[in-house]
Subunit: 286 residues, 4 copies
Amino acid sequence: MPLTPPPTLVALLHGPDQPGLVARVAGWIFERGGNILHADQHRDTEAGIFFQRVEWEPANGDASADTAAFHEFGRSLGMNVRVASSAHRTRVALFVSKADHCFHDLCLRWRAGDLPGEAVLVVGNHPDLAPMAQGYGLPFVQVPVTADTTAAAEARQLAVLREHRVELVVLARYMRVLSNDFLERHPGHVINIHHSFLPAFAGGRPYHQAYSRGVKLIGATAHYATRDLDEGPIIQQDVRRVTHRHSVEDLIRMGRDLEKTVLAQAVRWHLENRVLVYGNKTVVFD
Amino acid sequence: MPLTPPPTLVALLHGPDQPGLVARVAGWIFERGGNILHADQHRDTEAGIFFQRVEWEPANGDASADTAAFHEFGRSLGMNVRVASSAHRTRVALFVSKADHCFHDLCLRWRAGDLPGEAVLVVGNHPDLAPMAQGYGLPFVQVPVTADTTAAAEARQLAVLREHRVELVVLARYMRVLSNDFLERHPGHVINIHHSFLPAFAGGRPYHQAYSRGVKLIGATAHYATRDLDEGPIIQQDVRRVTHRHSVEDLIRMGRDLEKTVLAQAVRWHLENRVLVYGNKTVVFD
Amino acid sequence: MPLTPPPTLVALLHGPDQPGLVARVAGWIFERGGNILHADQHRDTEAGIFFQRVEWEPANGDASADTAAFHEFGRSLGMNVRVASSAHRTRVALFVSKADHCFHDLCLRWRAGDLPGEAVLVVGNHPDLAPMAQGYGLPFVQVPVTADTTAAAEARQLAVLREHRVELVVLARYMRVLSNDFLERHPGHVINIHHSFLPAFAGGRPYHQAYSRGVKLIGATAHYATRDLDEGPIIQQDVRRVTHRHSVEDLIRMGRDLEKTVLAQAVRWHLENRVLVYGNKTVVFD
Amino acid sequence: MPLTPPPTLVALLHGPDQPGLVARVAGWIFERGGNILHADQHRDTEAGIFFQRVEWEPANGDASADTAAFHEFGRSLGMNVRVASSAHRTRVALFVSKADHCFHDLCLRWRAGDLPGEAVLVVGNHPDLAPMAQGYGLPFVQVPVTADTTAAAEARQLAVLREHRVELVVLARYMRVLSNDFLERHPGHVINIHHSFLPAFAGGRPYHQAYSRGVKLIGATAHYATRDLDEGPIIQQDVRRVTHRHSVEDLIRMGRDLEKTVLAQAVRWHLENRVLVYGNKTVVFD
């Protein structure tokens, strides 16, 4: 039986660029006896911002001491810092409505050991997927939402998320818009899958829009949910070729495959601490 | 030395759907001694429209009699009909400004015998590409255009097109917008290449728009020019993956490869009489 | 509640090319009061072979009379003919071992109403997927196979296939090779998914081979199983980009997504009667 | 007019992995007053090899001192080191036969300022492309080769390469195989474009092979030429979808677009010092 590998730390930094940052970060880790496994950096030369993802084995496997110290070190450099330990499994909630393709896709990946993190909860505004969630051994909480009850429903959702200590919410074709209030009060991230190649066909019924416009490719976009609907930082996008022979129903069917793989890729990158948001964009250290 | 193959005819039809259309068209050709080489049809069941592309060898190689007769036959079916002979080489004009990548790409394809039709003229609002046009043996006509002189310049362009009996105008990164008046008075088609995945990033500086939005794919779109800028029927689109590492300049450079292949594909399909326009969409019989 | 649409017939024909085939087929259907919905044909001009897929609504919805008569008509043209009614749901068996990704993917598509035909049986050489098959409401038959017991095991498999009147066997990452004897005795088709871009990396452990060779794209290939292993007619292929950063384990994981979509596409095309085999190749009327 | 940016240095290192390498390299550059612009590393954990590409601005713009010192430093770490200055323009020779698509594509990219390095010479075994080379202002040397004269021809080629101080030879659809003797005596690299998705269809007439096998994607592969024909380290590959409708001639035509873009990408990466060869594979720091 394989030994559990020692925990590694991943730090994501960004802040004002200055000479010597790569050397200082590497030096700091080296002096504390750590061993850098991967380091990737990026400069937005126009904006003068430095971005880095660095992964290392701390000396003696002492992840918690390094975590605290690195935060302090990063602040001394004027950087925003996030540090995560490989020993921590991010707790994920799936928000669903009736469509089940992204839900099954993610659950099967977790069950196969293919995705890091851990699904801990399914929240649905409809009861349809409750039996399937139970089939995957996941608690299902139904929170019905109507135009009139949004505020109360979101309060209920936030309470359930807190109760399950959820860090990441994945909107797996959840068909309601979350309010800014929800987004501000949820302490973690929210990833959404939009069924078009944003910014084309933002808003509702994107496959119908694509069909009407006669485009030759359909797409899907995974992005962080922000207060501006369909305007959040894009994590991943992909497209597939279509022709005049495809009906709207074909686009919807073919789009499901796109939605699944694009959302799963975005969730994977997020859970591997590869995504850094700045402004309305992402840096993905893949 | 190979014999010239006998001419074939290609008919593009569309109109109200009705039972028996496939059989009637095939029967008409068969009764006149023709042999169908390819036949492809499509039904827009929602709109009740029938589309067909059929290619055949007329009996005795008599293309012109069949052309006239097929027009009449199509009208008797209530169909819009276009018939082209493989013996006819469509006359094409390239409109250019300073960027030369699409220009070279198309000219080299013609010179290699890779594209049907025939480039007969280059029109530039700047003189920059004149020597290269001459290098390809093509007449170059400079027609400077300013905001004040558009009407006169377009009159001059139309006169030159008439003089060279141009049937297809290809805007090979021509940086001016043609007026509705021009589009109505030019008796042939106009194909444009837009350097984005339309309808995303219509209008000016699309690579800058794409960079600002942080998309993960850039695109190019070839479409027929119509009175609504960037809204014409789309013929072909393609995309390429980009990352946060790519600057606007990288997007522009990488986009050039997309623009070349997307425009060349659209021009090829048009010249092979594979594109049928209806409403704001195309049916491409590829 | 929607009315069931009237059944349509799909005929796949191929045989020696001769003038007038398109017109004769269309005329035959028209004269019997049928209405052609789609017709697609292809000529292999080098080999002189004509291929056609034609779909029509028979008069009075009388599919069975047309089926028999069309067979006779096709033979009179010297053509090989296959006719299928849209009212018939092809019966499919999945052969599996331990890997479950293609199995789940296909079962979920059937359950969502996304695939034509009907899964009626799961056959596994290991018992691992039995509970999941039952979860989908499918009978699971375990037929253990070892090098010594292949003949007896295949006899058992054939008996089970007969019993369930299976027409199509899908090898959904079934890790045993079927004998020529099995392939000859099974009256229907067998589709396999190979986890490489054939003919590259035929044989075992293709992801390891791909890793060793340092290719920049990995692939998957769905093909009909024939007596020459990994040499059967290819139905569909796709690839995905990889880099030096990907370990063999990454290739295996990423390949699973390819295998799922490539196999599902091939099965869909087969069940829609879009695939015509001749020699070692396929014509796919998509 | 823009100032010339100060020269940067790019080092490519690889050798036995050991803790602290990232920190040591970064520290070395930092201590000498340099500023790291990019650093990318990779570990082949199985083979225990460390790879790094690091780009930095040396203090006072003194590139030559840092170059020599870094070589020594790298050796002290037990690493293979290559250092290149951005001020150096790699001298490139194109080897051609009669096909001109890759030749034009590369020359136009250089002329547009799109490719680093500098084309300094065209060598052809046929005279066909001489006028075009001259049109691009490049010396053209014809070196006819027959089976009997290979040794003498290669001696002549090597002499011409020496004379023009050529560092990189690009086989732009050059239709002869270079001998091992040539490859050993040429002091620089040789990049070849093979018109298939290697290792599928190695050897001659790959499009004919692909057509016969009935594959659904065709490909192109750019690789370093080594003594084992078509077995050299792969730099870049790409594919394009084909159908039964495409003849061998179509595959050849469509393949030309693939060959152009795949070869240009490989040449670009090589000239930007992004490609590290080890064993039969490449690490591409893109």
